[in-house]
Symmetry: C2
Subunit: 646 residues, 2 copies
């Protein structure tokens, strides 16, 4: 049977399992990437697991999140990551080199390879024919050690792309249109595979925009063919020899089909506070704004900066509007400096920030109280900008720039100018000379890990006990993101390598007393969630910190893929309501009791919970046998250590 | 009698008093400047005073300190400052335009004018023949209202400059040599007036470096002649018409004389943690470093960035060294982008940060634990970098760059290369089009002040009571800076417009329990200080927050000029020990009692303090009658309000 590209990629990396949607499969991982906010924990895990060196074809560690350095913590972490990279044979990309996803694609991306990253937007690598997925840090640590990655075999949605984007409409509007159709969980356990003649009109970096925000639909991955556009991209990066042509076989089948005609699209915008609340820009045009933010992994291409530069050339941004420019990479900043586009932005009044993730993860550039911020970033979860009750809209660079010039939300088609032309340059600067490469092992000298005082070892967690009882410490609503379970931002991100310290902020964005209640209770407890619990960022701290505070099970209506797996990895039992209506039977402070929980999990998919009123509620789990074993062991580290010991 | 330039400048602005060193004089102020960290309070004060519009020739408000925006507070402050500027006829410079002192000099500096600024480095304006001084915010607010500025008539130190700087030695080494000679209080109540043939070899921006850090010697001001170098600077800024030639009269006298031969200087460096701990670079060469920091008001010139760029061209900085580039202004960033120097820095591995004060005031870029940071900034007070127990050295851009390349402290003369040539460009971009100018009053529409939730009114303070008693809540050591009385940094700076909130951090860097003790005590109390109490930054919060917590008098061995006046402005009595040995008679928690304090202050310079053991200690004050009246009224705002009401 003719295979689509996703099936080819999975088949070529299949270690075990059958390629039937919904069944567990294990895949060989060729490459891994980490960013610094999750990477310190990955390195601590890799150390705890005791492996001497990475076994992947290539692993890379980027520093792009924690760049503010309000005190010693971030700087210490950077030095720790450098020492760990040197010790274990990992590429290390220094602060200032840029955002992991774009830099990895430029320096190391190879069509046909699998890439696992401790950042949910790792999926951006699908732009060049890779099977690229985000995962919890511990799974990335295991992949670095050469162990296969387990996932549920996804359904493949074939998205046929036709037509050509009209002026002022760009790749961001394509993925916003997809989000309008699928919302934030329509992509769960799916891979979106794009094909068709319209792709000839989308560059590799345009596809990066679309693949990146596939994550926002909850998708496992997004996959594009490796075609002439990918070859051109690799040529520009001085790596044409890494090109391999890849595409779906003639007559390939898809589990589901979707169609998108680029010529019919118009500028779209996601309203506060969900990437799925998409409307046309015209529907919200005219609202006064405070800020337009250009940058992030969701719009990292050169065109995403050059088009705004050409739009503002010779004009002035009103002085009460903040036009914030966040360069993707050293390469991009060098290029816009060389071409004069940087000066067009500066002369119009834009603020240039350091290269990196910055405001996208709440590291600065928070908007003023009650004011609207337009951003080209992938997410607008409540408070993620750093400002409580923020009003962040997601849109294209064209819409953000037109709005900055006008001081209000503006459809760029309503500007009185021609759509600027952009041509990709033939060549861009190679960033690899500014990275530390894996050391030659023949000449290896022992490297000491440099651990500053904020870098604390991972806590030990005990196995799942037979009897489990305790209160429901929190009942949360629908679509609770990992940003709400464990926020980012300038104060909290620097604590990522210190679980006791960061645990103070658990659920703080939705329930300021959670930490105090958990410490006061001091024992086993539970959390109840609604639909799509744990969407968003891959941060495993959203599992580790609750576990550290005593959370032993989460019962939700549904769960996001990466977070569900992070719960298992750290010994929290992920349970699901049989029907959404059961949610109403549980309330905060209710006592729950599980009897013989390990055997219940091992013997089928239903679990009985005793309620305080003496009644019993039946819930379900969807864990594989392996996952059940992991959660019973108290998490993956206990399990791997035990295997190594035995 | 022939007058030196300082005397001419003072005489031309003298409102009252005699020009005898040590006597109080009042001066007309032509121009004022504020930055945002002190400016929000200045604007709240200007509002509290009730004036309808500024009466200076020119007032300007810059946004250069609080640029990180971890949450809504900084952004709200920026909008508040813009609204206040519009309301009262003040130039408003948006975030991203750059550091107040350099931008003011470029856009508005005029030889012969007086400039008062709510930032201690306002003195940098002396580089172009201005009498430029830092002051507490309230005094700047009063100057904005057209009221004269009171100060003690300074002694004038005539510094004859001869010779020419050798290769690899630059203006920073000149002022470091002066600091080696005078230390951090050798300039108190002095103006350093530079003259002589050596000045032909120092550009206006070189002089800015020297004038800026005159503040670190405690000087009232530094003054340079307005000569052909100043004309060239104004021509470059497109303002040659503002040039006026100014110099000391033939045969002018000075109160004291100093001599500096540029040709004899070598690279100098100030060791942790005082700008006065100056040694030659060679004395500390070889120590491994973590960071080199280029930028700040102490090295803001184009050459200070171009020379480092030429030094690193074609080379790579080791990946464990952070070379942090902090552009001074939009103008400078545009210029180094245009010339390719920016790309030389980026290609060597430097990190480019946003334009502004940044790490100099602890807004990011904190060094790693226990690691050395080399900075071209003016100050290295303990913990100012954001890292407790930091090791910050102050040096020239040449020394910082040579050290970054080598990974250790390095005398730039030991590099194997020729000293790069630098020529000032004929023209630079005009920054004024990106500022909001004072509105045309004829066409004025009422402007509402935009106050976010963090912007709180100034607390009211009651007049000085007859009987005053309470405990010594803190006994501090020598050279306590305002950075230690009320720290800056990413967490605290955003609270500058909210006294109740910021008061939590009073003395937190040297005594973590101070706030708790003050709240527990809940009444009048005292602080004891050593030599040079209150040196450093002009932040009046270092007076307002202690006053808010009940501090009614400070007794010290000696006090820094700006802080002493800030104490008076907010009703804290500044007292001095008769002899340093008396310090030993007082200890933390001792009860002190003052009887009839107002009359004691009015009737001479001695004040009796009853000690807990029944004995009496005689201390002194050096306040003018006017200052005594202010402190008795409970501060300047009470006084001005009363005058306005009566």
């Amino acid at each position: 049977m003719a295979k689509n590209l996703t099936q080819q990629l999975i088949e070529q990396h299949l270690v075990s399992g059958k390629m039937h949607p919904g069944e567990a499969v294990k895949l060989k991982i060729d490459q891994t990437l980490c960013q610094d906010a999750t990477g310190t924990m990955v390195m601590l895990e890799f150390e705890a697991l005791g492996f001497p060196r990475v076994k992947t074809e290539l692993s890379a560690q980027y520093v792009d999140h924690n760049l503010i350095q309000a005190d010693f913590k971030n700087a210490d972490d950077h030095l720790f990551l450098r020492s760990a990279s040197r010790k274990w044979g990992i590429w290390f990309s220094r602060p200032g080199n840029g955002i992991s996803h774009a830099v990895h694609m430029a320096c190391f991306g190879v069509p046909g390879k699998t890439l696992l990253g401790s950042d949910s937007h790792t999926c951006a690598g699908g732009a060049m024919g890779m099977l690229a997925m985000g995962a919890g840090g511990l799974q990335v640590a295991l992949a670095m050690a050469g162990l296969p990655f387990s996932l549920v075999m996804p359904e493949v949605v074939g998205v046929e792309v036709t037509g050509k984007l009209p002026p002022w409409v760009s790749a961001k509007d394509v993925i916003l249109e997809m989000l309008r159709r699928y919302d934030v969980k329509g992509g769960v356990n799916k891979v979106f595979e794009y094909y068709g003649p319209g792709l000839d009109n989308l560059t590799a970096m345009d596809r990066h925009v679309i693949a990146n925000m596939g994550q926002e639909m909850g998708a496992t991955a997004s996959v594009f063919p490796a075609d002439e556009k990918v070859r051109a991209f690799l040529r520009q990066q001085g790596r044409e020899e890494d090109f391999v042509e890849l595409k779906a076989e003639e007559g390939a089948q898809y589990d589901q089909r979707e169609q998108i005609d680029l010529s019919k699209l118009e500028p779209m915008i996601a309203c506060p506070s969900s990437p799925g609340k998409v409307v046309t820009v015209r529907e919200v045009a005219g609202k006064p704004i405070y800020q337009s933010y250009i940058g992030s992994s969701a719009n990292p291409g050169l065109r995403d900066f050059v088009i705004p530069a050409k739009m503002v050339e010779g004009k002035k941004i009103p002085e009460d509007i903040s036009l914030d420019i966040n360069p993707t990479s050293r390469q991009l900043l060098e290029e816009i400096s060389r071409t004069g586009d940087l000066n067009s932005l500066l002369q119009a009044g834009a603020r240039l920030h350091q290269t990196g993730c910055n405001g996208c993860i709440g590291m600065g550039q928070a908007p003023a109280s009650g004011r609207i911020s337009l951003r080209t970033v992938p997410r607008n979860f409540p408070g993620r900008s750093g400002t409580k009750e923020d009003q962040v809209y997601l849109c294209s660079p064209e819409t953000a720039t037109a709005s900055a010039l006008a001081g209000k939300i503006t459809d760029p088609r309503d500007m009185d100018m021609d759509y600027p032309a952009f041509t990709e340059p033939e060549k861009l600067d190679d960033m690899r000379p500014l990275m530390l490469g894996p050391q030659d092992t023949s000449n290896e000298i022992p490297v000491e890990l440099e651990k500053g005082p904020n870098i604390q070892p991972l806590p030990d967690f005990e196995p799942l006990s037979e009897q489990l009882s305790g209160p429901i410490l929190l009942k949360a609503g629908d679509n609770v993101s990992t940003d709400e379970i464990l926020p980012a931002g300038t104060d909290i991100l620097p604590l990522r390598s210190n679980i006791p310290a960061i645990s103070h902020f658990t659920f703080s964005r939705i329930d300021e007393d959670f930490y105090q209640r958990a410490k006061k209770h001091g024992g086993d407890c539970f959390v109840i969630g609604g639909d799509n619990y744990g969407q968003g960022s891959s941060r495993e701290h959203a599992a580790i910190a609750p576990r550290y505070l005593g959370v032993r099970a989460v019962i939700a209506v549904s769960m996001a893929r990466i977070h569900r797996r992070n719960l298992i990895n750290f010994g929290i039992v992920p349970l699901l309501f049989k029907q959404a209506a059961d949610l109403a039977r549980l309330n905060q402070d209710d006592q729950l009791e599980f009897e013989d929980l390990p055997s219940q999990l091992q013997n089928g998919n239903t679990v009985q919970v005793k309620l305080a009123n003496g009644k019993t509620l039946e819930v379900i789990h969807n864990m594989s046998d392996e996952e059940v074993a992991t959660v019973i062991a108290g998490g993956l580290i206990n399990e791997v250590r035990k295997e190594a010991g035995g």
